[in-house]
Assembly symmetry: C2
Homo-oligomer: 257 residues x 2
């Protein structure tokens, strides 16, 4: 039964990610004309005793309790989204590794807002692994008139943030997550093709900074063949439990877990 179960899971994951693996492989091999080729890109991402920090917006935040954010591996501080899914699995499967996992996502954040709090909420934590998922608000808040953003500004802000990061933390292993949406809820035709350009910027940043890249959009594009978009994210932006689980599995796969 064990073998059957794992075979089934492998088939499921393979079917979900068949089209996204290409993107992952590219990122892992460091293609893309890196301008910062001296940064580490080989070896296991998550190592014994490592500190792993997740940064981003509401998708990362996922209702975390900020009062306990200073405590590593705090159930409440990790929220109830993909970070929680990743953390539970890592803390179980790498039980003896004394990992320290933090979530500092904040709802509504755009790239410039990460920058505003980057010393306190990233550099001071000195992560060994830094995972970033940011971008959906950069376009969303612009579409609804609450922010004067553009793709070019997203790219400029994101590059500046990453430059600052690798300057302060030259050995940090970066995991850049692709912004994604599902075509339901708040997501309509007005988002496109501009949103694809935001996604492309995230991938470009990943190549420039020799980071791992988590191709969430392709993963969800495959997932909607199995269940409607709202099953994975009711409003098209914020993942459901099922969506968060998938994201966690994808992240772990890219990280080689």
């Amino acid at each position: 039964m064990q073998v059957t179960s794992l075979t089934s899971r492998r088939s499921f994951i393979r079917s979900l990610t068949a089209t996204t693996l290409g993107g992952t492989a590219l990122a892992l091999s460091g293609c893309g004309g890196s301008s910062r080729g001296s940064r580490p890109k080989k070896g296991p991402v998550i190592q014994k005793g490592g500190t792993i920090l997740f940064q981003g917006d509401s998708i990362t935040d996922a209702g975390r309790d900020r009062r306990s954010e200073g405590n590593a591996n705090s159930t409440n501080a990790l929220g109830k989204g993909y970070v929680y899914s990743i953390a539970t699995q890592l803390l179980a499967e790498k039980a003896g590794d004394e990992l320290k996992i933090y979530n500092r996502g904040i709802s509504g954040n755009k790239v410039f807002q990460l920058a505003d709090r980057w010393d306190k909420d990233c550099l001071d934590i000195k992560p060994d692994v830094l995972s970033i998922l940011i971008g959906v608000n950069d376009i969303w808040h612009s579409l609804n008139g609450n922010y004067n953003g553009t793709v070019a500004k997203y790219e400029e802000d994101y590059r500046a943030l990453l430059k600052r990061t690798v300057k302060a933390l030259p050995n940090v292993k970066l995991v850049i997550c692709e912004p994604f949406v599902l075509r339901c809820g708040a997501v309509n035709d007005k988002w496109f093709p501009e949103f694809d350009q935001y996604r492309a910027v995230a991938k470009k940043m990943s190549a420039e900074f020799n980071s791992l890249f988590v191709p969430f959009q392709g993963m969800f594009d495959d997932a909607v063949k199995k269940a409607p978009p709202a099953h994975w994210a009711g409003d098209g932006v914020h993942p459901s439990m099922a969506g968060a689980y998938l994201m966690g599995q994808e992240w772990l796969k890219v990280a080689g877990i």
Copy 2:
């Protein structure tokens, strides 16, 4: 990398459960002198459109929001323990199956307290799959003088509850979870050997009612070879994130997922 990753996970799970699989296999084969052999015991536990109900005490409850307990698959209503871990994975991997998952565990409950609320919190929900984890408070509250319980009373109450359940829901698929403790926190030598007798009763009930049996104690006995007991349950009773994840994986494996 995919294959390596899954091989690694399989090895990990195998190493954790090597000693517990024997118990699982026994339960699945229906050994144990069942007195209710007419009940269904074959076929997939979780079927399309099925309603799955988790019942128990604080370990099941895990901080669930009772205000939304009437909504199937509600993130908040499922708590943040093993039920959540199981639900997220099921809702992702069986995305098209329209499962309805409920959590009605209540902190502090002993078997008789499940019975007190069984109509409302179980029979009225008409689950296709009913998972029960109960027993640790039956002994704990007796040890600390807050309940006048015995192993015999636990067995009597548990059998009565299950008889009532299968009478009202003759086709329900039962999953009986083994009570467990870890030797840390509130758990000291006073718990033994009596606690082992409570565990044996749960297994006996599983055999009598042709249920699946989830051998959590053996799973945790193996887990403590990888990290100290407190990594899995700080007080010896309530699982950490890592402990809850392991429980979810064990439950899913027994359910053939």
